[in-house]
């Protein structure tokens, strides 16, 4: 087995992506979470570009640029502004304590790796083995969404999930057709925009972004 250097770097970035996911799980402050999210986007953009460069799939440059513009610059900026404007940068206590969350995270990672193993074995792409990491990132983001009670961490979890999916697309298939990717990016952008409006609505109505206030609708 001999991988070229840049694909080894891609592997390293994959590992980094997973590490950042865990860091996000353990992060208590919203601002820190946004920063980590930006870093995750950066790792994603670099790895996408590297895969594109090393395999000659030049359309991956566009998606790398898209990721860079949206997930490293635009969205973190938007979130920073939002946090500042809504004054919600304080600590957030997760609903399950952090070590327990981490342990659940490990279990999820093992599960994802197991699930991905048979698939990556038949994949023809060079970066096949990163599929498991992508899946683990998705699951960890999902876990974060479940364990956080504030609105912004939940959304960041959602976007981190999208990061994982993008990574799956680049690592397993060298990216989806560009039109689809554009569409996905557009959806994400509109989604964040809608959410921005939504945050203000929630804040206006509940005077807080804590979703604990939003537990009225339940089956009795």
């Amino acid at each position: 087995m001999s991988l070229t250097y840049h694909l080894q770097v891609v592997n390293l970035l994959a590992a980094l992506l997973l590490l950042i996911s865990f860091a996000m799980l353990s992060q208590r402050r919203i601002v820190g979470l946004v920063t980590l999210f930006a870093w995750q986007g950066a790792a994603l953009a670099v790895s996408t570009a590297l895969v594109g460069w090393s395999t000659g799939q030049h359309h991956l440059y566009y998606s790398a640029a898209l990721t860079l513009a949206l997930k490293v610059i635009a969205m973190p900026w938007f979130f920073y502004r939002l946090v500042k404007k809504l004054d919600v940068g304080r600590d957030v206590e997760p609903m399950i304590n952090i070590p327990t969350t981490m342990l659940i995270g490990i279990v999820l990672v093992i599960f994802a790796f197991n699930l991905a193993l048979p698939i990556s074995q038949m994949s023809g792409t060079v970066t096949r083995s990163t599929l498991g990491i992508a899946m683990a990132t998705v699951l960890l983001a999902f876990l974060m969404m479940i364990t956080r009670s504030k609105a912004i961490p939940q959304v960041i979890g959602f976007l981190a999930m999208e990061n994982g999916l993008f990574f799956a697309a680049t690592s397993a298939t060298y990216g989806m057709p560009l039109v689809v990717e554009m569409g996905v990016a557009l959806d994400v952008l509109v989604g964040v925009f809608v959410l921005g409006i939504f945050f203000f609505q929630i804040r206006e109505t509940f005077d807080s972004l804590d979703l604990k206030h939003m537990e009225k609708l339940k089956e009795r």
Binding site: P177, V179, L186, F198, T205
Partner: protein, 483 residues
Amino acid sequence: MEIYWLLGIPLAGGTFLALWGNRRNAPEINVLFSLLTLVAAGVLTARIVAEGPIVVGDDWFFIDSFNVFLVALTAFVAFTTSLFSRPYMRIEKEHGRLTDKRLRLYHSSYQIFIAAMLLALTTNNMGILWVSMEAATLATVLLVSLYRTPASLEAAWKYFILCGVGIAQALFGTILLYFAAEKVLGSGGTALLWTHLNAVKDQLEPTVLQLAFVFLLVGYGTKVGLAPLHNWLPDAHAEGPTPVSAVLSGLLLNVALYAVMRSKVLVDGALGTEMAGSLMMGFGLLSVVVAAFLIKRQTDVKRMFAYSSIEHMGLVTFAFGMGGAVASFAGLLHMTMHSLTKSAIFFAVGHATQSAGTQLMDGIRGLIKTNPTIGWGLMLGTVAILGVPPFGVFASEFLIITTAMHEHPWATPFLLIALGVAFASIFGKVQPMVFGETELPKLPYQPALAPVFIHLGLVLMLGLFIPPYLALWYRQAAALLGG
């Protein structure tokens, strides 16, 4: 060509209404655009019926009997809902629950929502299908929270997050699908085109497709409202404005199920096993049972009918899961019946809650006295959705259950018990709402309930007699689903 009109009109409508704002005639413009969409859909349908399946626009769009039937249904219900919403939203505004700005948002999002659904139905690209499903969700999130009450915000948030997570699973499924397809079709745009995939479906890697289908089913299934992923549905239906509940229930759920079915055809071809069908049957049956028992506990009328939607979508999923010509036929028929009936019920319920000033069933009494039209509309709609003959729902439910008895006898008792429970609870709750004692005065204005009776009339007609060309059409569609 029709296809561009079909998608262009609602899109143009959305843009126009966003710019136009809520002038005096905005609702009428909304109706006009919906009508034009319906006309375009009609022309397209006529062409498909005459010429058979077509692929247009450089392989971008693909229309066969299965989706053109849904296109027609979508355009039709969208049109009648716009008719209903014209007076309804006006009264809501008079009650001070809505402002001009929000109505502008409503009209514009409504058209964009329709455009997104039509795109989802007609696109040939599984990736674009995903994109437009997500777009449909986004277009409706702000509609659910239109009233800006705490409860509606909560419902919209739940809707956004749960469906967002669900749809992310579907994206993962799509990626896996592309991953499998790329090896057969080569990378690039063609590997996600459904017609191309369908042609080579037996060469796709089974293990990958198996996993892909699980993700796709979970993802789109969340939007169908299959238990246990249904949590968002009752909230969104109950807290959003009634026209939104009507289109969510009558249309969006169908479109999501359509996405599942498109995937199922591919997966069945690749696997050659019953795996996809069994999964769908399991989810479907669970939804039917869970929803039936939850109906019993509801106090909010819109919530109750939302659960009834889960129940019926579960039934359709179950029918499609069984596969085979008869079950698929019954599933398609039931999809139609449910869309028409449920949107009619929501129209009637909308007026009922508006006149009573509450959505709690205890607060709505004696509709037959305050306004006989609403009362009869609600009663007939309820009777129809409960599957009482001669309404069409009876025919489709009957077909589904007899097929189930024949092929999967173990499932029959669950279905029958669930349907029985649902019948008893819904009927028991609607009856006093319509015939109970009330002190409220007669409704001062005449509600616009023509759509209700148009829908119910259609359901009744289809229950008594399915025109031969329509039956042929359903049969063609059922055959496409692997009948």
